[in-house]
Symmetry: C2
Amino acid sequence: MTENAVSLLSGGMDSSTVLAYSRLSYDVTAITFDYGQRHRKEIESSALLCRHFGVEQKVIRLDLRQIGGSSLTSEEKVSRRSFSDIGRGIPDTYVPSRNIIFLSIAAAYAETIGARTLFIGANSVDYSGYPDCRPEFFDSFQKALSLGTKIGNERGIVIKVPLQSMSKGDIVRLAEKLKVPLSLTWSCYNGREKACGECDSCQLRLKGFMDAGSIDPIRYERYPREYRAYLAEKNKKIR
Amino acid sequence: MTENAVSLLSGGMDSSTVLAYSRLSYDVTAITFDYGQRHRKEIESSALLCRHFGVEQKVIRLDLRQIGGSSLTSEEKVSRRSFSDIGRGIPDTYVPSRNIIFLSIAAAYAETIGARTLFIGANSVDYSGYPDCRPEFFDSFQKALSLGTKIGNERGIVIKVPLQSMSKGDIVRLAEKLKVPLSLTWSCYNGREKACGECDSCQLRLKGFMDAGSIDPIRYERYPREYRAYLAEKNKKIR
């Protein structure tokens, strides 16, 4: 019998790739948080992805606007940073303890379905500099969850972070290999009709496609200069 | 300037005592969770206690019934155990990862008010056997929170568990010393008009009063045999 696991799914490219990866070896339930994010479109994306993969989804409501402290859950404008600034310092989109809170709740839910393995799509190479994305945090949190839960006391909790040391380019390549329908994923912090192309998340995503030599299938309001140059170069080669 | 701290307050005897203790040295905000508990009366108690102490209160809604797995958040009957069985094994009132979830969210909120110190009224002497009440769990979780949060990276997170190694009798004595209005506190898992006197929480509480040689000021539907004998003995002495 395949072991149960839970996989945190935002609907973005990284967590969708992790979902595709985790279902190769586990009977996976996707856990998605409806946390008052301005980019609610990612919740719709997550549902489409679960349907695509035939994976059960559990959506948990926890309004993080009650806590505040982040431009992602407020009416504040998400600030624009250039490619080279991303990863320097902690940005205003940092939601205090978001991975901590999500993993805690995921661990609680996992326990109710007899799962001890939690997958998360965090990454500490091409990332936004959040402290709860780093390997030393996950190691430490895995220990704490193993001590603090009933199932953890019996069998230990395992937090799997398969993308931990992958670049965004590696992730795009893995997503393509695993046939993740990237056109269904949503990464933009601004939940408008098209991706903005300006927020950290859009820029990191497009950097991934450039590194992988691929083209992002989703639609953007505008591309960053670097990506426009990349597309022009690619078109030149095709001709 | 006094340092900020947050103190988890359920409205029960233990967390109320910790609130009274924490405010001696910190500028404290009480954090109370409205998590779909059947004993909602404790939320009213918590508000009265904050008013009594002149402490600011933040109530956070997170419906743990979405997660399930506990008789405390379901319509299931809370099972009755005798004095001697309490502490043996993990009871059906165990809410998966409750302290883990509450501390994670408290840490997020603490960060927004510049607090790095979290108080919690957990106890591992006269307790119900929950794994997330033990000292090794708190040590481990404190490390994880220090690594995973912005404020923790800068100054470290401290989880203070002042009642950790105190018996329920010690807690009653400390509560009386700190002039905690015990008549306002609510411990019973069944949120009826009077405390049931039968659930683990009522029994542990009454054991505390017996150990301290005091009398619980709140009203009960019925007392456990041991407490009835204790009251009879006390009355005999008075005469």
